[in-house]
Symmetry: C2
Subunit: 311 residues, 2 copies
């Protein structure tokens, strides 16, 4: 892979990251690696997280308060659960420099944009969503290359300052991401199907499996290589983050869920009535999607996600 | 990992594999690697598969007919889709040596045992199921270490010859698997939840996503790293194999599906009515299952299935 472009520059020289979990700490590391001249200040509401970030030398400075973290910033990125965005923004309102650009990394864009703009009237709010992550959480889970070759969706509100938009896009490109622009409500529909629904279903099936009376939990774990274990990785994601996503993107998630349930009922009926052709046709169609994902470089083509099968 | 034990020996010296897909070809390779003295004969109903197996030197001999493949065998393993077991067994009935042990690798055990025993009256039928696989299919997809550290569930019918059972167990241990015994109907319930239901759900969601009107297929593919792509791997599995599994293990699958649907409805309701605590509690509970799977060595502990995030 080519090194990320830094030729254009983002114009940002002091970046503040509010929330130092997987994404926030990955941004801190990525800026350190790809934009070494930029000063990074971090803040997290949790003192333990701040202490860890300090101890591992995550970034130039860890501030003691959200306000202190932003006084000198020209770019502030909120990396907190989407349900906490409004309160986190309110905390910096008095200290945010007038010309600073504000962004976030939340997985729902319509609700987050509304909350940030309400809490920071007059600020240049340009929400964004890097579509990247792992099942791990916390400041130690982050890594600098998380955004390499991943998409970052930028969702400028109507009438947004176009220079600020371009600087946010350039920031993500510098971190290795490919940038796409999208209307916030469309983003929320797309992510409902590519991210939110898969998580909801993974959480559900893991719950269903652990509630069975006659199949023991130990059996479920032992024989999970038959397919179940792939769902457990997703269902190990951060509970607070995902609770907030489902509540914040309620309408789109409920609509996708309804469609999914109808399709599942149709398959259930096909199984009950022995309609093998219907099953076969669907199972053939779904293979093509996998092929496209591999062709577009959005997943690892090695079998079984590259899990090692050597001794 | 320790090399598989071969000290006890299985007593088998001529093994025939009927069906040379992912599992059959992996067994052929594994026997070649871990039991080099054993003669392996292969057969597949598809002449193209036979030609490929011949060309890649998969095993000692590729027979032209199922009957010819088994005339000298002391162990015959059916590695065909579960819906094809009965017909495949009928093809060898006239040529099967009287004292040969017969087994299979199907993902449903009650229906397969019944079909094999009906087609081969008097034969020593000891069904088994190695819980291992990848999303790839065909004779070139197999590899010798597929069964290392995976479970193989052996499901002897009532009154089975205990020496034959022990030889089958020893065979799988020699290939690197850990062996567990189980009643066939219990096996089918366990696998319904750890394997069949996850596949059904993955197929469904991939279908749902590809049918949306306003979210394009290209968007679904582009932003699949948010969770969706993990489902597409499973939904890329062999369509014939899986059609047969759902039809053969109908009752257990429909029961698990019913439980899953109820749980999903409860979550749907929690989202609609903003019951964040219910969501949070479930999402916390499911994390523990993931931890157990990693502790038991049934998955790769590296984040994101070890997908490479380096440049």
């Amino acid at each position: 892979m080519l090194p990320p472009s830094t030729s254009l520059g983002t114009g940002f020289s002091r970046v503040t990251i509010i929330g130092l979990g997987l994404i926030g700490s990955s941004i801190a590391r990525a800026v350190g690696k790809y934009m070494p001249d930029v000063v990074v200040t971090g803040y997290d509401a949790n003192p333990d997280v701040r202490a860890t970030a300090q101890a591992i030398g995550l970034c130039g400075d860890i501030a003691d308060s959200a306000g202190a973290a932003v006084t000198d910033a020209d770019f502030v990125i909120f990396c907190v659960p989407v349900g906490a965005m409004g309160a986190a923004a309110a905390e910096i309102a008095a200290d945010l420099p007038a010309d600073a650009v504000v962004s976030d990394v939340g997985s729902c864009k319509e609700s987050v944009a509304a909350e940030l703009m309400a809490a920071l009237p007059g600020a240049k709010v340009i929400p964004a969503h890097p579509v990247a992550g792992t099942e791990n959480s916390g400041p130690e889970a982050g890594f600098a290359t998380l955004f390499q070759n991943r998409w970052c969706i930028v969702t400028p509100p109507e009438g947004a300052d176009s220079l600020a938009v371009e600087r946010v896009c350039e920031f993500w490109r510098a971190l290795g991401a490919e940038v796409e622009m999208m209307a916030p409500d469309h983003h929320d529909r797309v992510l409902a199907v590519t991210s939110h629904l898969p998580h909801l279903i993974a959480y559900t099936i893991v719950g269903t499996a652990s509630d069975l009376e006659e199949v023991t939990r130990s059996e479920v774990i032992k024989y999970s290589a038959g397919g179940f274990r792939d769902f457990t990785r997703i269902a190990a994601s951060d509970p607070t983050m995902w609770r907030d996503v489902f509540l914040s993107n309620k309408e789109a998630v409920l609509d996708m869920l309804q469609r999914f349930s109808e399709d599942l009922s149709a398959l259930q009926r096909a199984i009950r009535w022995g309609k093998g052709d219907e099953l076969f046709d669907l199972f053939t169609r779904t293979r093509a999607i996998r092929r496209s994902i591999l062709e577009e470089g959005q997943d690892d083509a090695r079998p079984d996600f590259g899990r090692s099968h050597d001794e």
